[in-house]
């Protein structure tokens, strides 16, 4: 089963996503539980955030895989339960790691998500809502927002469940009828 988890910054998406994938993992405990980290440890803030997430995951049995670009399913053994955090970072890395903004990165990410989804038993994907502040950004940032929106829409389409987390409250906005997760 696939669940997409969205929401604003600091809304409690990670805590919710961990809870969900761990719940699903109970019925699949003989397989690995994998955390794919897309955030690159640049600077003190990122390191602090990563440390916070690591502390939250400690003792829950996650195997952590750092993969900043090129998600293709090889991150996890077939049948694994996977938590991918997050599409906002992954899209930024894919778009800007080559220097100039790469507007074609959304297609690559979508194919990668497909490969990963086919390989997992259960997959929770975290993304970020960054589209409602009405600000006027530069051309590269607008390209990024468009790409992330496209990836989000795609992930929501392949997901059985989509949840928006608001102040740590999960609001279900899509639920496939046969979804078990």
């Amino acid at each position: 089963m696939i669940e997409l988890i969205t929401g604003g910054s600091g809304s409690g998406k990670s805590e919710y996503a961990e809870r969900r994938i761990c719940e699903a993992h109970r019925a699949n405990a003989e397989k690995p539980l994998v955390y794919i980290a897309a955030m690159q440890p640049f600077g003190a803030e990122a390191r602090e955030r990563i440390a916070r997430h690591r502390a939250m995951r400690s003792g829950k049995g996650f195997e952590t895989v750092e993969r900043y670009t090129g998600i293709d399913g090889s991150e996890a053994e077939p049948g694994s339960d996977v938590l991918l955090e997050c599409l906002g970072n992954l899209t930024a890395n894919e778009m800007f790691s080559g220097g100039a903004a790469d507007a074609g990165c959304a297609e690559r990410i979508k194919r990668g998500l497909d490969s990963l989804a086919r390989r997992c038993a259960n997959l929770c994907i975290i993304t970020n809502e960054v589209f409602s502040d009405g600000m006027r950004y530069g051309a590269d940032t607008v390209l990024y927002m468009r790409a992330l929106a496209e990836v989000n829409i795609y992930a929501a389409r392949i997901a059985d469940t989509v949840t928006e987390v608001v102040c740590a409250v999960p609001v279900r906005i899509k639920q496939a009828e046969d979804a078990l997760l």
């Binding site: 960054v130 409602s132 009405g134 929106a149 989000n152 389409r157």
Partner: protein, 112 residues
């Protein structure tokens, strides 16, 4: 009348034309930009938009949600954001149904 809001790039236009089956001629897209243009030309966006909507000229209106960021320092930007928000409230009030798109998914937030 159906009002469709949500963040930028969430698939509002496609939802109106493909999912709701409303033709482009019967829809007003990007009402937040209409407000901005009218304000910059010294016109009254609220009066114009409400005339269109109440007069039955359109079956659907879309607008980006633009009010969920930091209050702009620039006075004109602040005014634009505030006026846009207030007009969207009025449009939602006059609408039979209101949808908010998140990750391309329509969440019905008002059922007439």
């Amino acid at each position: 009348m159906i009002f469709v809001t949500g963040g930028a790039f969430q698939g509002k236009r496609r939802f109106v034309t493909e999912t709701l089956g409303i033709s482009e001629e019967r829809a007003l897209f990007d009402a937040h930009e209409y407000v901005e243009a009218a304000l910059s030309e010294g016109r009254d966006p609220e009066a114009e938009l409400m005339r269109m909507i109440c007069g039955g000229a359109v079956d659907a209106v879309t607008a980006d949600e633009i009010g969920m960021g930091i209050v702009p320092q620039d006075a004109d930007e602040r005014r634009r954001r505030e006026i846009t928000g207030r007009i969207m409230c009025k449009i939602a009030e006059r609408s039979d149904e209101v949808y908010r798109l998140v990750c391309g998914i329509p969440v019905k937030i008002k059922q007439g």
